[in-house]
Each structure stands twice: as structure tokens, then as C-alpha cells.
Amino acid sequence: MATTQSSTKKRKSASSGANGAKPDVPGVSAEKLLEFYNQMVYVRLFEEACQRAFRQGRVGGYLHVYIGQEAVAVGLLDTYQPEDRVITAYRDHAHALLLGSPPNEVMAELYGKGTGIVKGKGGSMHLFDVPNGLMGGYGIVGGHIPLGVGMAYAMAYQQTGGIVQLYFGDGAIHNGAYHEAANLAGLWGKSGMNPTLFILENNQYGMGTSVERATANTDLGSKFASYGIEHEKVDGMDVVAMNEAAHRLSKQVRETGVPFAIEAMTYRIAPHGAADFLEKYRSKEEVKEARKRDPIGLLEQRILDAGAADEEALETIRKANKEIADAAVTFAEESPDPDIAELYTDVYADSPEVHSA
């Protein structure tokens, strides 16, 4: 492996259950619903803490949160196997947290601290947790898509049995990098050499540009079909639907080495980035309407309707996760800045190493 294995520490947070062995087909047991709830709330409360820290000027650079889209990553990453790899763009906190990255280290990264998950070098857009399968967080729209396809090739070549979960947005799909990568995936898939599960997080907007304003063919499935990639649209606000599709399709990709694409229909409830104040490109009503299908709200209702838990149990979960987020903030705030010598490490393999705390 070219990925250095220095940080082999295994992580478990109160809310993380993503790394355990998974059944092939998930039941929607009460236990499972609560697990999802726990994870979605975990992400949501963490993201809200990030937003606060950004507004307070404690987090710099760009910050893109996952609020509104939680069901997508929660449903999908539930199928994660240790031999799998996950890659996404800059809206990457949820993926790290759900794969088991320590929330403290994720938050510390946003604070640019030496205890950050990538040593404070990358910030919000570049979370990596290779031991837990996260091959990064990337900032250039479209740019990571070919990487994911290449990883899948490597995994087929090495016969690891793993798949790549490759996340990208409805804005990214119009970028040339997507086109070239999707075509390669389709082509390599013909000989079973591309176990990529494409996950189009269609949150309706690329920054301020709606899907209708970005392409004449808004049936984005056509943009997989033209490369011979089979695809399916899934309600990205419904974690159970996401999860069902995820199990079924990740199994198929794993067994065949042929790529498949899930278009997760979701909505970015939060602004594009924490600095996107005006939101002139959408109406307040539209956001309000979308909130009615907030994935956490929907799940809550389902849990209560099914009698899987009562409001008090849910409150307990929320409280536990709030504590995790708060603790992460405290950890980040109290962590030291990176050692200045770290500026020069990690440029090349033989860059000077730093041996300080």
C-alpha cells in the first residue's frame, strides 16, 4: 500500500457503528432505525458546531456542511467493508465521521490544529482517514472523480474484494473530469475491472446554480447511461431507502466489478458554504418546503410511528451527540497549533520529519 499506515489507531465514538460487520441485507429493525438516527444526529450536531465555530472566526478557509443530506452517507456507509474505499469532494465531514474518524481530530482539523486528522494541513476540504477507508476530501470540482475510478481499478487488479464509494455533486457532473472518468469506469467495467459505486449527491444546486440552469437534460441518469453505467434514482431524504439500495447495489458492484450509479435525490438545507449569506438563487419558501422533508425529521417520525423508541429515547441520543460535538470543540480549542516545522513535512516521502508533540 502506498498509503502510509502510521495512524492505525482504530476509532470508536459513541455514535459510530460503521465499521462493524454488516448483514448483506439490512432489516429495518428498531435497533437499526435507532442506529441510523444516532448517526444522522451525530453528523447534524457536529456540523452545527462547525458552523458556529466558523461564524466565530475560529475555523478559517471554506466550510461546507452536510446538513440536509445526512441520510445519503448514513444509508450508504452502513454497507462499508474494511476493504472498501471512500472518496468525496469538500463536503466531507459526514463521510469521515461515519467511517469512524475521531470527532475530536476532525474538529481539530477545522481549527487548523496540530491534532487535526491531517495535522492541520488540509482543513475542512481535505479530510483523510486512510486506515478507516477515507481516501480524501478534495477541493477542485470534478477533480477527484478520476481518482476514485482508478482506485477501483486497483482494487480489482489487487483482487481485494473491495469497492469504491465515489461521491460527487450535481454540479460536478458537468465537468469534463466526470465525463472522462465515467467513460473509463464503464469501459473497464466491461472486464469486471471497475467496482465503483458512483453516488451522485443531487442536492439540486452547484453553489448557486440549480440543475435546470446547469444542463438542458435534467434527467441526470442519462449522464450515466451514455457511458454504459446502470443507474438508479433513490430518495436521498429517506435513510431506509438509501440503505436498501446501498446494500443491494454495493453487493452487485462487489460481485461483478461493474460500476453502478446511485442518484441520491437530496437537498442542501444549509447554505452552500458557511460564507454563502444571501442565497439569492433560491427562495426562503423553497428551503422551508424542503425542511419538511428533513431526513432527520422523517426518520424521527418513522421511529415514533413504529414505536421503535419514544421522544425521550431520541432526546437521549441527541444529548449524547451534542456532548460529542461539544467535546470536539473543546478538544480543538485546547489543542496546540501545528509545529512550524510541519510546514516542510509531507511534501515528499523524504521530507524532513518532525518528532515533537
Binding site: G61, G120, M125, H174, G176, T209, A214, Y281, Y344
Partner: protein, 328 residues
């Protein structure tokens, strides 16, 4: 003279030229409905309509190439790179088409195109979002490349660029959109190929461009006050064409030079400044031209690391002491 922000200077240049000339149009991501991520184009959609203020998908190569095609048909498109960091996706269009079409068409076609957007670091955007690409693009004949630092120059160079019959890249100082400065009323242009003497001096030439110029002016004040060294500060501002003459004349007077850039050191603007000066002012130089460049690493995120990655006052003062053979 009226005072204006750097942002408004650029916007007013574009708006005025759009009033004057129907062939001027804008293209870019979220420049219309959203108002521009740096608000440089805010309000222009309402004023000029969606045929002239064209919101594009996230396809830097595609819309830059389309703008080249428009320019070949006699339009005067202005492309906004949301940031220059995204321009690597358009590098093929900029370098292989925009720069060369006049030449390989034997003069039959031309590309009166402007590409503009923020460049440079300083706000913790980390490795993929922090570049200073003046030398990178300035290397290619067929392009013109400028980097204004004052609102005055930003407006004058923008108008000059729009009227230029050849492709012009404007690398704006991303960290300075809110800074203010005097901007003349009425239209004016700033000629390309002329460096600007930002401060006159006799003892050492401090050379830079973009936001480094402001740093150099501060350093010059400190040198004056603390060490009695009177520094001349030169704002290179035009990268291609490159004004060797102003630099050389300055060094002929001061006999010493320090070049400062945010860019990486190797094969950079500072390399060129040093090479040019030693070539044309060899007998005048009392010390080697010193370079202060960005750290040889991708840009880090953490505030302290980022600060350490860019030139600072102390480094520059140290370099001045070295060329002046002074002790600290």
C-alpha cells in the same frame, strides 16, 4: 479623486465598457444570479441581462473555450475564473488556443478575450486553492498577463484589457477586494508593460507585485525609520510584457535589489527579475539580487503554517541587510 474599493474599481471598468460596447459580455460560475462569489459582478445581471451576463456550469475548460470562440467572432468576452486555482482545468484552452490562434492562423483570427479572477493566498484556503500563477501563464507568448494591486491600476488595466485585441489574463489580488484607493473619474487606461515605482528611493530596490507591494511599502517605512535605508519599491504589475527597463534603471541607481513573491522560488517571476537584473545591470550590482519566495510546499491550511509559508517583513528586512552588507 473619488475613493473606491478594488472590487468596485474592477466592476465599474466592466460596467462602463459594457455600456460602451455591446460586444462585451461576461461568463463565469455564479456571476449572475448569485452575484459573484466575490461580488465583483454583483448587479450586472440586472443591468445587462442574461445574454450578456452568462452563468455557466462548472466547466472552466468549456466556457473558457467558448469565450475564445466568441472572441474569434468579434465579441469581447470577459471570463471570471471564480479563482485562478480552477484555471488548471482551462489550461489547455488558455495555452493551446487563446495564446496561439493568431499565430497559427497566420494572422487571420484573433482572440480579444479577458480572463480575470482572484489569485494568491492568505485566507487559509490550503493547497488546492492557493496559487500565484503569474509566471506560470506569463511564460507563454501570445498571452498578456497583469497583476494590479491598486484600485487605480485594477480599473485602468481592466479597461485596457477589454480593448486589447489579444488575450489578457488579469490575476487579481484576491485578499484585497475590499481595500480602497483613489480612482480617477472618467475612463482611463493603464498601459501594459510598464512597472510602477510605488515609492522612490536610493539605497535598495524592493521589487514585487500584487499584495506583496503593500508589504514592501511597509518594510520600506520600517527600513527608513529603523535603519535609515531609503528603499525604492517597484510594483512589477505587468508580467507579460515584462518591463525590464524600469527594474534595471532602479537598480542602476540603488545597486541592490530584493525581489519578493508569494510564488514558489524555482522558475518563477523572481527568478526572472534576478536573471534580468544581473544581465542588464551587472556592473551596477553591489550584491547578488536576493529572492524572498513562498515556502517550497503546497499551501498549508493552519493559520500559523500559512503565515510561515508566505514572505514576511522580517525575511525581507533580513534580505535587505544581506544585500546592504549590514548586521542585524
Amino acid at each position: 479623486m473619488p475613493v473606491m474599493t478594488y472590487r468596485d474599481a474592477i466592476k465599474s471598468a466592466m460596467a462602463e465598457e459594457m455600456e460602451r460596447d455591446e460586444s462585451v459580455v461576461l461568463l463565469g460560475e455564479d456571476i449572475g444570479l448569485y452575484g459573484g462569489t466575490h461580488l465583483v459582478t454583483d448587479g450586472l445581471l440586472d443591468k445587462f441581462g442574461s445574454k450578456r451576463v452568462i452563468d455557466t456550469p462548472i466547466a472552466e475548460g468549456g466556457f473558457t473555450g467558448a469565450a475564445i470562440g466568441m472572441a474569434m467572432m468579434g465579441m469581447r468576452p470577459i471570463v471570471e475564473m471564480m479563482t485562478w486555482n480552477f484555471s488548471f482545468q482551462a489550461a489547455d484552452q488558455i495555452i493551446q488556443n487563446a495564446a496561439k490562434i493568431r499565430y497559427f492562423s497566420g494572422g487571420q483570427a484573433s482572440v480579444p478575450l479577458v480572463i480575470r479572477g482572484p489569485n494568491g493566498g492568505g485566507v487559509q484556503l490550503s493547497a488546492q486553492h492557493t496559487h500565484s500563477l503569474e509566471g506560470f501563464y506569463g511564460h507563454f507568448p501570445g498571452l498578456k498577463v497583469v497583476a494590479p494591486v491598486t484600485p487605480h491600476d485594477a480599473k485602468g488595466m481592466m479597461i485596457e484589457a477589454i480593448r486589447d485585441p489579444d488575450p489578457v489574463l488579469i490575476l487579481e489580488a484576491g485578499a484585497l477586494y475590499g481595500t480602497k484607493g483613489e480612482v480617477p473619474e472618467g475612463e482611463y487606461t493603464v498601459e501594459f508593460g510598464k512597472a510602477r515605482i510605488a515609492r522612490e528611493g536610493t539605497d535598495v530596490s524592493l521589487i514585487g507585485y500584487g499584495r506583496q507591494v503593500n508589504l514592501l511599502l511597509k518594510v520600506a517605512e520600517r527600513l527608513q525609520a529603523d535603519e535609515g535605508i531609503t528603499a525604492e519599491v517597484i510594483d512589477v504589475r505587468s508580467i507579460r510584457p515584462f518591463d525590464e527597463e524600469t527594474l534595471v534603471n532602479s537598480v542602476m541607481k540603488t545597486n541592490r535589489a530584493v525581489v519578493v513573491e508569494e510564488q514558489w522560488r524555482w522558475f518563477s517571476v523572481a527568478s526572472e527579475v534576478a536573471a534580468s537584473i544581473q544581465e542588464h545591470a551587472f556592473d551596477y550590482l553591489d550584491a547578488p539580487v536576493e529572492r524572498v519566495s513562498g515556502a517550497e510546499t503546497p499551501a498549508p491550511y493552519a493559520r500559523n503554517l500559512e503565515a510561515a509559508a508566505f514572505p514576511n517583513e522580517e525575511q525581507i528586512i533580513d534580505a535587505v541587510r544581506r544585500v546592504a552588507y549590514r548586521r542585524a
